[in-house]
Amino acid sequence: MQNKVEHQTQQVWNLAELLARVDNDIELLHDLLGIFKEDFPRLKQSLLAAVACGDLRTVGHTSHALKGMFANLGAERAAAAAAKLEELASSGERRTLQDALDCLDREATSLLPQLDAYMAEVKH
C-alpha cells in the first residue's frame, strides 16, 4: 500500500530537481542526457541477459548502476524500479525478477520520450 502511495507521488521525470542539481546549466543537462542515451541501451541489454539466465550478481550490479543514473537525472520512478531489482538480486529472490524488470522497462518507456522531447526543445 505504502509503495503504491510512493509511486503515485513520484514523478516520471522531475525536471525541476534536475535543473537545480545542474545549477540551471542547460549545456551540462544536455551532456548528461546524451551520456544516458548512450549508456542506457548497453545497460538494459546486460540486464535483460542477466535476468534471463538468473545471473543475480550482474542483475545487482547493473540495476545499481541504472538506479544511480536515473536518480541523478531526476527520474524518480525508474530509479525506484531499478532499486527494487537491485534489492531482489541482493536477497536472492529470483521468482519476481522478471516482474521487476518489466516494471523498470515500463518506467523507462515512459521516461525516454520525455527526455527526447526535452533534448529536441533545448536544441532549438
Binding site: R21, I35, D39, K67, G68, M69, A71, N72
Partner: protein, 322 residues
C-alpha cells in the same frame, strides 16, 4: 584546491566534475577504486576526495581502509558518495575511514557545504603541522644562528659515530672557537658580537656539504661533523673551513670586524669504540693546543697521547680566557 572524484558511472562523474569545477576546485577524475588509491598515494595528490561506494577493482570503503593504513605526512579528507543510504552502510563507510558520507543523488549546495567542512579540517591540520614543525625547529636549533643547537648536534654526532663504526666509513669532528671573541663583545657591544656569530654560522654552513652537520656548541664554539670524510683529506678540509671563516672581515653595524677561529680536528680512524664524551674531550684538547700555539690555526687530536691525559682539565680552565 585539488579534489579527486572516483566514480565508474560516467554520468555521475561528469555531473560532479562540472559542479566542483564551478565551485573553484581543480578536479582529478578517475573511473575505479584502484586508480583512486594510486592517485591519492602520489606525493602531489589531492587532499580532498569523493569516492563512490560501488566501483570496479576496489570499492570506496576498501580505498578508505587502504589509505588509512599508510603512515602519511598529510591527512586526506575522504567523502563516500553513494546511493546506499541505510544506517548500517553509513556506519560501515565511516568505520572504513571515511570522514563524511553523502547519499546520491546529491544536492549541489549540500555537497559544496560538506566539502567546505573538509577544507576547514585540512586547514586546521596544516596549522597544527606548521606549529609542530616550528616547535621542533625551535627545540633543535639555536635561536640566534639557526644552526643546530648543542643537544641536536650531539645527537647527530652520536648517531654518526655509530654509523661510521657500523659501516666502517670515515668521518671527522671539527670543534672551533672564535678567537678573542670576548674582546669583540667588550669593545663593540653584544649586538655586534651577535652579528659576528650569525655571520660565522653562515660561513661555516656554506663551507660544508649538504650532508655535513654544523651546530652551535656553546657561546662562541661551533661543532662541525664531516660525514664520509677520507682521513687523507680531513686536515685539508678543516684548514679550508678555517680559512673560509677568516678570509674577509665581517661587516657589522659598527664597521668591519676581522675575526679568526682556532680548531681542533678528530678523525674517525682515532675513534675506536670510545664513548662520545671521550672523543669530545680529545677534540677539545686539540682546540686548546691550537689556542696555545697562537690561535688562528688547526690542530689534530691524538686521543691516547699521555701528555694530553695529564692536561685533561686544562681546556675548561682556558675556555674562560678565550
Amino acid at each position: 584546491m585539488k579534489i579527486l572524484i572516483a566514480d565508474d558511472d560516467m554520468l555521475s562523474r561528469r555531473l560532479l566534475e562540472k559542479t566542483l569545477d564551478r565551485a573553484g576546485y581543480e578536479v582529478v577524475a578517475v573511473e575505479n577504486g584502484k586508480q583512486a588509491y594510486e592517485k591519492l598515494s602520489q606525493p602531489d595528490a589531492p587532499r580532498l576526495a569523493l569516492l563512490d561506494w560501488v566501483m570496479p577493482e576496489m570499492d570506496g570503503p576498501s580505498v578508505c581502509r587502504a589509505l588509512r593504513k599508510r603512515i602519511e605526512q598529510t591527512y586526506l579528507y575522504l567523502v563516500l558518495l553513494t546511493s546506499k543510504g541505510s544506517k548500517v552502510d553509513t556506519v560501515l563507510g565511516l568505520e572504513a575511514g571515511a570522514d563524511d558520507y553523502l547519499v546520491k543523488p546529491f544536492n549541489a549546495e549540500e555537497l559544496r557545504a560538506r566539502l567546505r567542512v573538509g577544507e576547514r579540517v585540512l586547514l586546521l591540520e596544516d596549522r597544527l603541522v606548521e606549529a609542530r614543525e616550528n616547535m621542533r625547529f625551535r627545540a633543535t636549533h639555536d635561536a640566534l644562528t639557526s644552526l643546530l643547537n648543542r643537544g641536536a648536534i650531539m645527537d647527530l654526532l652520536g648517531r654518526e659515530l655509530h654509523r661510521s663504526l657500523r659501516e666502517k666509513k670515515s668521518a671527522a669532528i671539527l670543534l672551533g672557537d672564535v678567537d678573542h671573541f670576548k674582546r669583540v663583545n667588550d669593545t663593540l657591544g653584544h649586538i655586534v658580537g651577535d652579528e659576528v656569530l650569525v655571520e660565522i654560522a653562515n660561513r661555516l654552513q656554506s663551507a660544508v656539504r649538504t650532508y655535513d652537520f654544523v651546530g652551535r656548541f656553546g657561546g662562541e664554539e661551533f661543532l662541525v661533523v664531516l660525514n664520509n670524510c677520507d682521513p687523507a683529506y680531513g686536515p685539508g678540509r678543516g684548514e679550508e673551513i678555517r680559512r673560509l671563516v677568516s678570509c674577509r672581515p665581517i661587516l657589522t653595524a659598527k664597521g668591519p670586524v676581522a675575526v679568526t677561529m682556532s680548531f681542533g680536528l678528530l678523525q674517525s680512524a682515532e675513534w675506536g669504540s670510545k664513548p662520545l664524551e671521550h672523543l669530545l674531550h680529545a677534540v677539545d684538547l686539540a682546540l686548546y693546543q691550537a689556542k696555545g700555539e697562537g690561535r688562528d690555526c688547526l690542530r689534530i687530536a691524538v686521543p691516547d697521547q699521555k701528555n694530553e691525559i695529564e692536561h685533561a682539565e686544562k681546556p675548561d680552565v682556558v675556555r674562560q680566557q678565550r
